[in-house]
Each structure stands twice: as C-alpha cells, then as structure tokens.
C-alpha cells in the first residue's frame, strides 16, 4: 500500500474528502445500475407467474383470497 497508515489513506494530504466522495458516488451509481435490471426482471417474472396462477383458478387460491 502506498499510504503508511489508515489515517493517511483517509486524509490523502487534504484531498481525501474529494477522492473518497468521488469513489463513493461512483460505486453507488454502479451498484444501482447493476441492481436495477435484476429487480425489474424478477418483478416481471413474479407478475407473470401470479397472472398464470389466477388464470388457472385453482380453488385453493380462491379460498386464500377471501
């Protein structure tokens, strides 16, 4: 590691706030764009599965609905 201590790595000679903020925002945004499609995909599949179950209209689900 280039820095001698954890404190030095956080401070980065006064530039720490800028550098860590930039990296933090970057990681956050990347995280969001990686998770968004997965969530959307699961939502669609869940909705479709639910629709099919309703169409089949098994008596158990009707009773559960009451």
């Amino acid at each position: 590691m280039y820095f001698e201590s954890l404190e030095a790595a956080i401070a980065m000679d006064g530039h720490g706030g800028f550098v860590w903020a930039a990296y933090g925002i970057c990681v956050l945004v990347l995280f969001l764009i990686l998770l968004a499609p997965r969530r959307r995909q699961k939502k669609i599949l869940r909705r479709l599965a639910g629709e099919q179950k309703r169409q089949q209209g098994s008596p158990i689900t009707v009773e559960e609905g009451k």
């Binding site: 980065m12 000679d13 800028f18 990296y23 764009i33 997965r38 099919q52």
Partner: protein, 247 residues
Amino acid sequence: MWSFFHKLGSPPWLYRIAGSILRWLLPITLLMLCVGLVWGLLFTAPDFRQGNSYRIIYIHVPAAVVALAGYYVMAIAGGVSLIWKMKMADVAMRACAPIGAALTFIALVTGAIWGKPTWGTWWVWDARITSMLILLFLYLGVVALYEAYDNKEAASKACAVLTLVGTVNIPIIYKSVDWWYSLHQPASIKFTGESSIDPSMLYPLLLMIAAFYALFTCCLLMNMRADILQREARTNWVRKLALEYRA
C-alpha cells in the same frame, strides 16, 4: 453468418445466450472493478503536481470513455432498428440509454469533484464539460422520449432518430480539448505515439477502462433481458419461464 444474424433477432435465443454470457462476465467484471478501485485508491503513487486528487482519474476517465463508446453502440443499434426494423436492435438501443446516462453522470460528478482541488472550481462552461452535459441530456432524452409515447413503435422510431441526430455531439466531445481553449487537459493515453502517463499509473487505468467496458456489457445484457421478458410476456417461452421461476 446469416443464421447468426437470424438468431440475433430471436428473443428466446438472445435471452438465453445473454444469460450464459452474464454467468461468467459478471463475476469477472466485479473482480476487475474491485481490484482496479483498490489499486487506484490505495496502491498507486500520487501525481507529482496534483497530489492525491489525481486518483479520481481511475473512475473519471473510464466512465467518460465508456459513456462515449456506449453512445456508438446506441447509435448503431438505433440505426439498425430504424432501417431494418429489427426488434432486438431497438431493445439494445434502449438498454444503452440508462447505462450511458449513469456513466456520463459519474464522469461529470467526479470531474466536478476533481476540478475543485485542481482548478479551484466545481464547474466551468468549458467545451469538453458542456458537450458531456449535452451527452447526458441525450441519454436522458432517449429514456424520457420513450416513456412519453403511448404507441411504443412510434416511441422507438423517435428515440432512434434522436440517437442518430445526437451522434453529431460525439466528435465534438472528442475534439473539444483541441478545438477550443480549455481548462480540461488533453488525452493522456494515445494509441499513436508516446502516452504522457507513467506505466505505474497506466496499468491500473487500463484495468479500470476494461472493467467499465465489461460493466457496460453486463448492464446492457441485463437490461436487454428484462426488456425482452416484458416485450414477450404473452409468448409461451416466457410463460414457461415465469412458472419455473415460481417453482
């Protein structure tokens, strides 16, 4: 060759193949990102003039490079969807827009944060920065335009036209640092001639650029998969998939 193109137009094939690519590409991408981030953040020596603030280069440059490259993908997909009416090209075009917007956003924000300690200001209406801001609006415009139409076929066509018109902005972004007097520094890495960057800084940067390319590809494939499911919701293969998901 032609059968390959034929397959590309087939939603179930594309959905499956994208899934199997993601299975190995996604872990590799995450690994490269982690290694690159830690390397750039903690293991490289500081720049002799800019000190530690230069470390932002490891996210700023890759994000900007891939934001531009993503626009090519979007424009080509838009052109194909407009000319040959290929549905999957339209899916690819729209899948690019949110990722491109996110990457452009990262480039602009990290640029602003980098600008403060280096230039003494968060923002200047500089040619490079302004043209990147236009790129962000182009990406967001494609997303918004598609949502604005109820007729999705007309929406796709409008998005493709906007994408193609927006291509004008790309050479402007590339050349902005040469054409106008600018605070923004010119490119450090050149394919021809000597790069003005030390190898110890170049390698982590190249790794991060590769990681961002891989990330773009992953997000593109994931967005396309979700979009294909929505589009093909009434088909048998998607219904079967949904049942398997429940089980």
